[in-house]
Symmetry: C2
Subunit: 240 residues, 2 copies
DNA sequence: GGCATGCCTTGATTTGAATCAATGCCAGAT
DNA sequence: ATCTGGCATTGATTCAAATCAAGGCATGCC
């Protein structure tokens, strides 16, 4: 299929809404709309107070942290289906990150007040919000451990191993976005990322554009000490 | 008062339980117990599956991340009254951090399954859990921004400014624990922390043991570029 | 007292990563 | 086909922070 721009779920099919009383769902949908946005769109800026709970129906959003000096780093990518920073929306606190869209994507926007009210009253929604919040919290903890306990080469190596595992291809990994972005996600410069990749060459890694061949995963693991409590994912305990 | 070892709230007075149907509260308390623990106690290890939701009634808990190599860093301190990593308990996923107690403290322990069930069914509890999760998520995001966007001296300077503000003493800050620990929280070595403090001397800071005099907060701020979206706290939106 | 022990500071040195700079390599536009 | 702009690599160099090493200053203990 070409024009696969808009894959993903229809709003009514969201696991988030599964099992919800029909009245509740229609009520929520009255305070909601679907937005299709093109690559590059800024969804919100850091410092803004949330107006909507955004839900990724298709595509993804990238969350950036920016310093006063204008330097910008990728903190997280949110993929469909998930909530975009429920922590800010549910507390009504200003966003700590900017959200941008790296590919054509579709979002469900629910007015913040309506979403908060619905979560307060509806245990199933609360459950979904808790699942999303918990998963996001744990991703942040993993990232902090990664930053504090590993050097840059280890971070890169473990990133590749985790990626290949997630993609189901033990002998290679395809980078999901530009190397510069990945570098900032890993807390290093693009140059250091490039050097880390080439220094992993002696552990059995070959770089070909966005594709990284992993010739000897065991050797990479020996060099980088992957750890399920840092690199793992929690699986789909709570779908949204 | 001497013997102020056990300050803090009584379990029945927890905001968490405020407004809860009495039946629910007694039901929860049947699955709960209060534990008073001495300094140094390990509450749980990273990798363990949670048995209890721990709630800090008095004192605090420190959360550490450990690498395979045995290196250990402070990730967060949880102070009364708050939940200790609801993210792990509510998802049933293994702890990503070890919890230790740095001072005599008192905890309420609620059996994990009972706590999960209660949160599922009781909107008020769900609300409290969401508030705690959201606040903790945001603290992690701030920490990541701090690590990725600042150098070590900036981190130390902003830490001191935030501390003095939190303590209500604009002209000084009292370090809440050993410098080695704070250093690991800030992602640097104790030596670098010490050097950062002395290099902040030329911005108007004097070190006297655990007390740091801030002679000229404006100059420190100029050197370290504090940012409410990194150093701020969200206030007590959701008390637990 | 004297002497461990733990925590911190300071200095010397090394090292990992950032920065600076140049070049290469596309994909898309003309 | 040639130009162009964005991204990536590579090398040279600088710089920040870690590491290594020594000493200081408490506190508690015998």
């Amino acid at each position: 299929m070409d024009e696969m721009t808009y894959e993903g779920v229809a709003p009514e099919e969201l696991p988030l809404f599964r099992g919800l009383p029909v009245s509740r769902r229609t009520d929520l949908m009255r305070h909601a709309m679907v937005h299709s946005v093109s690559s590059g769109t800024v969804l919100f800026e850091q410092g803004e107070v949330p107006n909507f709970q955004l839900i990724v129906l298709a595509g993804s959003a990238q969350l950036f942290g920016r310093s006063a000096g204008g330097r910008e780093v990728l903190i997280e990518a949110v993929r469909a289906p998930d909530l975009v920073i429920p922590a800010a929306v549910l507390t009504g606190a200003p966003y700590l990150m900017q959200a941008r869209v790296p590919e054509p994507s579709r979002f469900l926007l629910i007015h913040a007040a309506a979403f908060r009210a619905a979560v307060e009253e509806e245990p199933l929604l609360a459950h979904a919000a808790i699942g999303s919040l918990a998963a996001q919290f744990r991703r942040m903890v993993r990232q902090i451990k990664n930053l504090k306990l590993r050097n840059s080469t280890e971070r890169v190596g473990c990133y590749l191993l985790a990626l290949s595992k997630r993609q189901g291809t033990p002998d290679r990994a395809v980078l999901p976005f530009e190397k510069t972005l990945i570098a900032s996600e890993l807390g290093i410069t693009r140059e250091s990322f490039s050097r880390a990749l080439s220094s992993l060459g002696k552990s059995g890694i070959r770089v070909d554009g966005q594709t990284i061949e992993i010739l000897d995963a065991a050797r990479v693991a020996a060099a980088c000490a992957p750890d399920p409590l840092i690199d793992g994912t929690d699986g789909e305990g709570f779908a949204v």
